[in-house]
């Protein structure tokens, strides 16, 4: 599983950073980005899903592995 933050949509609500700081970080202006570029370790997948389903701007998308 991979997560992507759409920086065009992110308005800095910081829900993802609060819910899953091991996956997301925020810049000096408070906008979020994903720390993980590649596949998430399985133990972080629940955090990624929680972040995606709590973003008011729908800025986070989850890409499931095809395998």
């Amino acid at each position: 599983m991979r997560v992507v933050v759409d920086s065009e949509k992110c308005q800095g609500h910081n829900r993802c950073y609060a819910l899953a700081p091991e996956i997301f970080d925020v810049d000096d202006l408070g906008f979020a980005f994903a720390i993980f570029d590649g596949d998430l370790p399985p133990e972080l997948e629940a955090g990624a899903r929680a972040a995606a389903s709590n973003c008011p701007e729908y800025a986070i998308t989850i890409h499931e592995d095809e395998a």
């Binding site: 308005q11 810049d27 000096d28 202006l29 929680a50 709590n54 008011p56 701007e57």
Partner: protein
């Protein structure tokens, strides 16, 4: 009490200062969602009211047809040339693109999660001191003696104002946020005669002479495109930080405590499972979102079949969007472990509440310390609870008895 006549019909004559709305707006919005999802009233010179999440979001994202030049609906509707566009009187909340992004970018670093986390120890200490001052035996007013004091003292500290001035702020804020149903002339006088203006000017002069490590000095030294901010911009932003940072969070803390006082099962669960608090805080923000914003229509156009005209007011009730059953399952129930919660308590789009990280921190710390001290409490006089009128909704009296 509103000075306006009672509302005759909510779809065609609504008024957000009407006593029925102030007491319990949720049934009004529920009915409108079914019958007239974009309501209109001739009051305040013509005002629209969308109540569905979808429509509230659409307006929040549409900065082309809706301007933020004035965000508090009152009888003193500004004319086309009354306010400096695109800056407005309190940038960046009253600013439109493209200026908005510049004014906002300037402030964002001070309100990002990490600098706000640094204020947590001060906030926690403050909450503990306030709780020390309460008398569990006799009961006290949780809204006045606790909730109200927290945001005012934090923002006073951030701006670098004297802590003893906190009580003054409450009067200023009432004039701006709550006294919206007074006649236009009276409101313009309130705004112009400038007790608040004089106060801000005095603080600015002090900071010019003695710069401090605070937001006031930061604003005075800040530059946009190589130029210092205009004095009006600095003063307007300071007023914004005061107004937006106090009434709102006070309301959220008060409403959460009111909920806990009236829902013993939620109270017991949170006292037993403090790790659930951050999730519960989001649910309190959803269910009791304090802030309804406003826009003005910037050009004639049709929205959801409604003929909107330039200069019309539009109330933007994020609290109504948060109770839309099309968007939230069990929208009218407070579910303190709600797992999926895309609430819009802090708005949507480019005007997302600048202070949302601060508000969240204050609300979480305030509830954490309260529940640690007083895990069991109830309303001592449910009939004495009163709610504020206007666009910021929260309980202004919450008499509690500690059990």
């Amino acid at each position: 009490m509103s000075s306006h006549p009672p509302v005759r019909d909510w779809a065609t004559d609504f008024d957000h200062t009407d006593s029925e709305w102030v007491k319990d707006p949720f049934p009004i919005w529920d009915e409108l969602r079914e019958t007239c999802p974009v309501a209109h009233s001739d009051r305040y010179g013509g005002t629209w009211l969308p109540v569905r999440h979808e429509d509230v979001a659409a307006v929040a994202y549409d900065t082309e047809h809706f301007t933020s030049r004035q965000v508090i609906v009152s009888e003193a509707r500004p004319g086309p040339n009354d306010l400096p566009a695109p800056i407005g009187i309190a940038p960046p909340i009253t600013s439109d693109p493209p200026f908005h992004a510049l004014a906002r970018r300037l402030l964002l670093p001070a309100f990002a999660p990490k600098p706000i986390a640094a204020l947590e120890p001060f906030t926690r200490e403050l909450c503990c001191e306030l709780l020390d001052g309460t008398s569990a035996k006799e009961g006290f007013d949780a809204a006045v003696e606790y909730a109200q004091e927290i945001p005012v003292r934090v923002i006073v500290r951030m701006l670098g104002f004297p802590q003893e001035d906190a009580p003054l702020f409450r009067r200023f804020i009432h004039q701006i946020v709550e006294a919206v149903d007074v006649p236009a002339e009276e409101r313009r006088e309130l705004q112009e005669q400038g007790e608040l203006g004089e106060y801000i000017e005095a603080r600015i002069n002090e900071h010019l002479e003695h710069p401090q490590d605070d937001l006031t000095t930061f604003l005075l030294e800040a530059e946009l495109d190589g130029n210092k901010l205009s004095p009006d911009h600095v003063a307007g932003t300071m007023v914004l930080l005061m107004v937006a940072g106090i009434d709102t969070t006070w309301s959220a803390i008060g409403a959460s405590l009111w909920h806990l006082a009236t829902h013993p099962e939620d109270r017991r669960r949170l006292a037993a499972e403090p790790e659930l608090l951050p999730t519960a805080v989001e649910e309190f923000l959803r269910a009791y979102a304090p802030v309804t914003m406003a826009r003005m229509v910037s050009q004639d156009f049709e929205f959801q079949g409604c003929p909107m005209h330039e200069g019309d007011w539009l109330l933007l009730p994020f609290p109504a969007a948060n109770r839309d059953p099309e968007f939230f399952p069990d929208a009218d129930r407070v579910v303190i472990d709600r797992a999926e919660n895309r609430h819009a308590a802090f708005g949507l789009g480019i005007h997302r509440c600048l202070g949302s990280n601060l508000a969240r921190m204050e609300l979480t710390v305030a509830l954490e310390e309260w529940l640690r001290r007083y895990p069991d409490f109830e309303l001592s006089d449910p009939d004495a609870v009163t709610w504020s009128a206007g666009q910021v909704r929260g309980p202004r009296t919450v008499p509690v008895r500690i059990l």
